[in-house]
Symmetry: C2
Subunit: 369 residues, 2 copies
DNA sequence: GTTCATGGATGAATCGATTCAATACAAATT
DNA sequence: AATTTGTATTGAATCGATTCATCCATGAAC
């Protein structure tokens, strides 16, 4: 009884589906195709094959005979079928996407890293969802929520707030992450970072090698690990070289701060004034440069400058800026590779910390006097 | 017979579901929660309510009594339930996302526009998927495919290749789009753009007003509508002012080209050399600036420069650069608003073309001599 | 005491793909 | 001729949420 009813209903459903198909073909032929697009069953009906075969054409085309495959492809084309990704990933249990959460999309450093990651993701037929925490713990959490809801396969993140615990929980539930531009403090994660201490040392050694005897460090806040490390590297190198290192601490790393510090230095007695500056990033360095230009200090003759990051504009400044260059794209690529390693779960996956050593790019701002 | 079998199978399924539920609670209580997360039915069971109620708590919390609502929320918390967005949007037929396709994520112009759009999207509880066509027609198509598969609610796009027809088709199937930084040539789309002709005119009038009598335009290729328009605006303004306008055409708008053109100008006789340059964008302008600095030409004394876009680095150059500023963030916001208008289909939606007039930001590079 | 209205709650049906056990069929082997 | 092997194909069950027709309980109105 109930059974009969079920059968009846089934027949009804089929009839409706068929109608819809004919209808949609009709529309396509004679007018503008519109409304909700065709679905897989429509394609199957038009190509006179089963839904399983259509799915195979989409996912394992080489397992389908030439005849049916081409019929299916023709039907797909005819109907303008576009597979519904929500349905795909609901059933298959796997989205084809990674989430990436950076501190500032407007910072070219991160967009470069993202491009590197995107390239690798593309090779794996995944897409990269790029999000911007904008150095805001709330947004950071919100985007992690989003990533979890979207069931991304993995996350690339430059953490801002306290998220490590959460990331561990996510990993335990099947969403691994890789820390970018941060050395993992635990062995719970892979990370890709840059040896800022070495970078700081390189910068300062370079200044000494071009003749500086009164170098200074400009940067802050020291709560940023990067700043701390770069300073420490520079301080150690200064000690080794037997020169003092003056410190100008700033509340942030923005251009404006650089200009302010520059103005400050410009007002010092020439013999008190540093003869070279190592700025914790290029923004600061450009600020210094602008200030010096405005105050009639010559770079590098009166004062040399080295920055950090080697952003495009370092080389594009009127006086091209010496800087410490990080392999940005490579960082992104490597991070994505590590992430895929963990996703594909080569069972013996061990978390590894990749540390790149940044390189000096010498330009006019530190030319030997 | 078959009917009986069906019933039996159903019972089996229920038993399995129950087992799984108990199992997952068990795991939570006594060990690390892991494996596939809890689902909505688990929450319903733990809170002793129906699945419909849980769904209501998630989507229409005010329609649920306080008692059950808090039980559900407690269960969600206890199980660490995260709603599966694929399932949500499959059933509801609507994703909560927009796609945005730009020509170059590394260009601060586009990241600013994107941030504006993102803010509006956030207000509408949507997320913005940012993709980079990188001025590659293939990638552009591929990302549009992706957007269609993901069933985004709408698309913000700065078209590169021939995509208008495709966008029309998408719109007819329920995915509208808004053109960004492009004036829609048809009335089929909304668009948000900037009046480049006016911008070009402004730039040239400014140069004349600070005393230029031999201005030049640098930029290309003229197949880019932007370049064409900026040049035309400048040329018209020059004609009106009764000064000639020299043209230096470039194959692209990159920094390096600016430097090359700058070197070229540096080699001209001082009385043949332009006394002011309008560069089609800031990258070119910075290239010119660097070249002039290297060749000992003083800016603005020997030659004034005005750029276009007012990127951050325009003001951060050693000699701060006068530029034509576009309301980038506003462009993104407005575009997203128009898109939501069309998505929410206020039935009388008419496509509108928003055109912002760019503004001159005068800085040192055009200071009156 | 009965009817009606209403806000809350329920749960089977549903969205559109993929999966996989079952089957059909051809070719190879015994 | 019978059996095995292997490949191509099928279609019902499934993923995890939302939807919505239905039901329930409570109180107001008659």
């Amino acid at each position: 009884m109930a059974c009969q009813q079920a059968n009846t209903r089934m027949a009804t459903v089929n009839a409706v589906t068929l109608m819809k198909r004919i209808d949609s073909i009709h529309q396509w032929r004679f007018s503008v195709p519109s409304g909700p697009g065709a679905k897989l069953t429509d394609v199957a009906a038009l190509a006179r094959v089963s839904v399983g075969t259509v799915s195979n054409v989409l996912n394992r085309p080489d397992q389908v005979s030439f005849d049916k495959r081409s019929r299916v492809l023709a039907a797909i084309d005819e109907l303008g079928f576009v597979r519904n990704e929500s349905a795909r990933s609901l059933r298959s249990g796997s989205t084809r996407s990674l989430g990436m959460l950076v501190l500032d999309v407007r910072n070219p450093f991160f967009t470069d890293v993202a491009m590197g990651a995107e390239n690798v993701a593309e090779d794996h037929k995944h897409s990269l969802i790029l999000a911007n925490s904008a150095e805001d713990a709330g947004r950071e959490q919100a985007y992690l929520d989003l990533f979890e809801q979207q069931r991304v396969q993995g996350v690339l993140i430059t953490p801002y707030g306290q998220v490590l615990q959460r990331l561990e929980r996510m990993r335990d539930r099947g969403i691994p992450s890789v820390l970018v531009d941060r050395l993992a403090s635990t062995d719970q994660f892979c990370s890709v970072s840059v040896d800022d201490v070495a970078g700081g040392a390189t910068a300062l050694e370079h200044l000494v090698s071009v003749g500086s005897v009164r170098p200074a460090f400009v940067g802050g806040p020291f709560t940023l690990q990067q700043v701390e490390d770069r300073y420490r590297g520079a301080a150690d190198a200064a000690a080794r070289a037997g020169v003092p290192l003056q410190l100008f601490e700033t509340p942030d790393l923005k251009f404006e701060r650089g200009r302010q510090v520059g103005d400050l230095m410009g007002n010092l007695q020439p013999d008190k004034r540093p003869d070279a500056v190592f700025a914790a990033n290029d923004q600061l360095a450009l600020g210094l440069l602008q200030s010096f230009a405005a105050n009639g200090l010559r770079v590098p003759e009166d004062i040399a400058i080295v920055g950090f990051d080697d952003i495009d504009f370092a080389s594009q400044s009127s006086i091209p800026l010496t800087s410490i260059s990080q392999p940005r794209q490579l960082i992104g690529e490597r991070a994505a590779q590590l992430l895929f390693d963990e996703i594909d779960d080569e069972p013996g996956h061990v978390h590894s910390q990749v540390v790149f050593t940044p390189e000096l790019v010498a330009r006019q701002s530190t030319r030997r006097r």
